[in-house]
């Protein structure tokens, strides 16, 4: 199934006390003097929170930046859909928060599968993010007196989440986008919208450029630079149905993986507990209902399996508030992986509600009685509105019906402490890397990580690489560029020439269902072993039977999708191999064989306290496993309890 390399991966985490690592490291990083920065060029792929903030900040520093996105505008990146909020240990509510506590909660939330030093740095710079965003004019929610407001999120027993109604991601992204647009107006950043990255260009072992397709006219373009910063998000759409935008894909990361970048922990996928349930076979995506709703909403199912009464007529003593029952100290704000599994446990046992039985209630009755409908509307109005649009039910009157859905992926390309992959000059930021969330991400931490990486990490660490790089300019018609261009061209030609009978979407749906059933919320050895040959068979069928209409010289959305699905077909196998190799349960990776008596994840720290970083050897060829041992010098891994 795979081979194990004998080396251990070096994370390049600096020595010294945890609190001083980042400061000392920044001092040790080489600098590029301001007058020389314009001579260095940097490619940033993706313009979400990580890419937008990185491109803007690097432009401000004076580097020559080229930024790319496949959408029609950088403002549309999927970060925009993040609803609930962003964490920071400001301790404004005076409830005992500190950088250390945010660090501890995040490490524990990730089920002790994240790198201590990265997480501590994240907690340190989180406060700067809030300040930066306020200065940009991000309209965070405020108290009557004008100070910033906070609310609570899962996995924390205090309020450290800053928010803009139910659209925090939108406002943070627009802040980064506006900063990016300002750099575009100065000419320091050149923006290339509607470009999809199809290949990474590697020259003398270093990442030196990309091949993109201009989506509007089909032209392939080569762009070279001194470094490439990949900020292309997660791979949740391998499941077809997820809360991701339709365009989210693994292609950019996978193309880098094929060129030598290690892919770390692909089996760490986050299933979010509160999404609107699937309702038909035509369904194209799943919609999240923000975790913030669990501040005031209570999750329950009827105690009696056969209870057919409308929810409002079921009295309290016949309701099972199962999160409050199982996790009394965190209650409805238990972390996502735990809440999702608890919902699955109840519905598998036959207590689910709704037509399909694959749903539980999220009920605001008590909050509306306690605080009044207006207060609830002010906090969650847009979410309630969205729910009603989709389901035609009014959540002020009847409880929401929710069910877990694929949401976020903790795995990603392997990076060191500087956020550089094992390929020199290839940096990976935000959800596209693997570094900060371990096996489970806490709510309101994705925005924090994306902006931390882009605003406050890459501006320092990339200088260290550029100052030392002595590689000269790479011509756009250099042999390695022409070869990458040819590879991209051949692939497009191949996709268009199959001319089979099945549509791209039909393959994507089939792959997604396979992954959801055997590589989703619960996994087993037998299921995974049976799935891998089925993925391979489906991939073979794809290349023999897909129909991609149209040609390559115009806007061709079927062709775009086909390229993405082809890469998902290869990536899915690696995800399954990773899940099969990890003989333990941790965070979002739940292997049914490894659980405690009361159904919680059973970790195996002795054998699996490492990052699994996979090296590509060819599609269908056994990948090589490189391991980075996780060293816990400050927090002692313990059984993660939210009881």
């Amino acid at each position: 199934m795979f081979r194990v390399a004998s080396d251990t991966l070096d994370s390049r985490v600096p020595a010294g006390p945890l609190e001083q690592k980042w400061d000392k490291h920044r001092f040790n990083l080489k600098l590029v003097n301001p007058a020389n920065r314009r001579k260095y060029s940097v490619i940033v792929v993706g313009t979400g929170l990580a890419g937008g903030s990185a491109a803007a900040s690097l432009g401000e520093l004076g580097y020559s930046v080229k930024a790319f996105c496949f959408q029609d505008s950088p403002r549309r990146a999927h970060s925009i859909a993040a609803q609930g909020g962003i964490n920071a240990a400001k301790n404004y509510p005076n409830d005992g928060d500190s950088i250390w506590r945010l660090f501890y909660d995040t490490i524990k939330g990730g089920d002790y599968r994240a790198r201590e030093a990265n997480v501590y740095r994240l907690a340190q710079v989180a406060n700067n993010i809030i300040d930066q965003c306020v200065a940009q004019g991000v309209p965070f929610a405020r108290e009557y007196g004008g100070t910033l407001a906070n609310r609570s999120f899962g996995g924390a027993q205090l309020s450290r989440t800053f928010y803009c109604r139910g659209q925090t991601g939108q406002q943070l992204l627009l802040g980064a986008y506006q900063s990016l647009m300002r750099q575009v107006s100065t000419g320091r950043v050149k923006m290339f919208a509607r470009r999809e990255m199809l290949e990474l260009i590697v020259s003398n072992g270093a990442a030196r450029g990309i091949v993109v397709r201009n989506i509007e006219n089909g032209k392939l373009e080569v762009h070279t630079a001194d470094a490439v910063v990949l900020c292309t998000g997660g791979y949740g759409n391998v499941y077809y149905l997820s809360t991701n935008a339709k365009g989210c894909n693994v292609t950019a990361a996978w193309r880098c993986h094929r060129r030598g970048a290690f892919f770390a922990n692909p089996c760490y996928t986050q299933i979010h507990p509160t999404c609107i349930p699937v309702s038909g076979d035509y369904q194209s995506k799943l919609t999240l209902m923000s975790e913030s709703l669990r501040n005031d909403g209570r999750v329950w199912v009827p105690k009696n399996r056969a209870d057919q009464r409308p929810p409002g007529q079921i009295p309290d003593d016949e309701r099972d508030y199962y999160l409050e029952r199982r996790y009394p100290s965190f209650g409805n704000l238990a972390p996502r992986d735990i809440s999702s599994r608890a919902a699955k446990e109840r519905t598998d046992a036959g207590y689910g509600v709704g037509e399909s039985g694959l749903a539980v209630f999220l009920d605001f009755r008590d909050a509306i009685v306690r605080d009044g409908e207006d207060v609830v509307r002010k906090k969650y109005g847009n979410l309630f509105h969205m729910y009603e649009k989709i389901t035609a039910e009014n959540p002020y009157e009847v409880p929401m019906r929710i069910y877990p859905a694929v949401h976020y992926t903790m795995g990603g390309l392997w990076v060191d402490y500087n956020l550089m992959s094992n390929l020199p000059g290839l940096y990976v930021l935000g959800e596209a890397n693997f570094s900060d969330h371990g096996a489970n991400r806490l709510g309101a931490s994705a925005l924090m990580q994306g902006l931390s990486d882009g605003y406050f990490v890459i501006p320092y660490t990339i200088g260290d690489y550029l100052a030392a790089a002595k590689h000269g300019k790479l011509a756009e018609d250099a042999p390695e560029c022409r070869a990458a261009l040819q590879d991209a061209q051949n692939r497009i030609t191949k996709l268009l020439s199959v001319n089979g009978r099945r549509t791209v979407d039909s393959f994507h749906r089939e792959l997604g269902l396979l992954m959801w059933d055997y590589c989703g919320m619960a996994r087993t050895k037998a299921g995974l072993e049976a799935t891998i040959p089925r993925i391979r068979a489906l991939r073979d069928e794809f290349w023999n039977n897909v129909r991609v209409p149209g040609d390559a010289s115009t806007l061709n959305q079927s062709l775009e999708k086909a390229g993405r699905v082809a890469d998902f077909m290869e990536f899915a196998e690696l995800l399954a191999v990773d899940a099969l190799h990890r003989n333990e349960s941790c965070g979002g990776h739940f292997r049914e064989e490894y659980q405690t008596e009361d159904g919680e994840a059973a970790r195996d720290d002795e054998n699996y306290s490492y990052v699994a970083a996979w090296q590509f050897q060819g599609a269908g060829t056994e990948p090589v496993l490189h391991r980075e041992p996780l060293v816990f010098e400050n927090v002692k891994p313990s059984t993660r309890s939210y009881k």
Binding site: S73, R76, R142, L148, V184, T287, M386, F456
Partner: protein, 254 residues
């Protein structure tokens, strides 16, 4: 929720490229579930077209939860269709009736040229933001977030404006193809907040100049934009834009 199905006639604008002529094509689509979103209905149409050896209808979309602003579409002459405060991706087929003919067109405005079928180029909006729709603060310069209090009610108005998703429905709905609602949303947000004060005058002047340069039309206060806006941005922000513009013209030391 009981599910019903609809049989529909779709009259869709087809255009092979920016410089090619376009025309309406009629498609019969039967058995459409009322629970489908409008875009899921188009997905079904496209699967049918591909199976029949035709090219699918190109349309922009991404998040499908009403926030990215990528989806567009004039549906029976209304931007984002008949529901107030709703993007096309959040519009559901239960809003339509059996046997109905639905006409689907791209945004029609000179500054938004058609790329293909229902896809248009909205980069004019990016250039308007580039002209001044930001606060000039470099990363690292920020004081503590609580150092400047913002009264809760002012922040709420700023947030109402900031909710704009940049979809372009306001332009498409306007008989003059005016972008005043879009521009005013950003001008309003940043002129209300203390962080936007230093560039308050220069911002409004630059953004209005760029808006004109892009070829957007003038505002004649018909408020179609507000009616079409999926983020329910109010035309009161246009009033604020006009005030800001006048003040900047008269008082600003430029």
């Amino acid at each position: 929720m009981s599910s019903e199905t609809l049989n529909l006639t779709l009259r869709v604008w087809r255009q092979a490229g920016p410089d090619k002529p376009g025309n309406f094509c009629d498609y019969q689509l039967d058995g459409v579930s009322t629970h489908m979103s409008f875009l899921e209905m188009l997905d079904v149409l496209n699967e049918k077209l591909i199976a029949a050896g035709d090219e699918p209808v190109a349309f922009d979309h991404d998040c499908r939860e009403g926030i990215c602003g990528m989806c567009s579409l004039m549906i029976n002459g209304q931007a984002h269709g008949p529901d107030r405060g709703t993007t096309t991706c959040q519009l559901h087929m239960r809003r339509f009736s059996d046997g109905q003919t639905i006409t689907i067109e791209p945004w029609r405005a000179k500054p938004f040229p058609v790329v293909r079928d229902l896809v248009v180029n909205r980069s004019a909006f990016d250039r308007v933001i580039q002209s001044g729709g930001f606060v000039s603060v470099n990363t690292g310069n920020a004081p503590d977030g609580n150092s400047v209090p913002v009264p809760g009610n002012r922040q709420e108005v700023a947030m109402d404006a900031a909710a704009c998703i940049g979809c372009g429905a306001c332009v498409a709905a306007c008989k003059n193809a005016s972008a005043m609602l879009f521009v005013s949303a950003k001008v309003s947000q940043l002129s209300i907040l203390p962080q936007g004060q230093p560039e308050r005058s220069s911002r409004v002047l630059s953004m209005v100049a760029q808006m004109d340069k892009e070829g957007f039309g003038a505002c004649t206060n018909t408020s179609e934009c507000e009616a079409a806006c999926p983020a329910e941005v109010s035309v009161s922000h246009i009033a604020r834009l006009n005030r800001e513009y006048m003040k900047a013209l008269v008082f600003a030391d430029r």
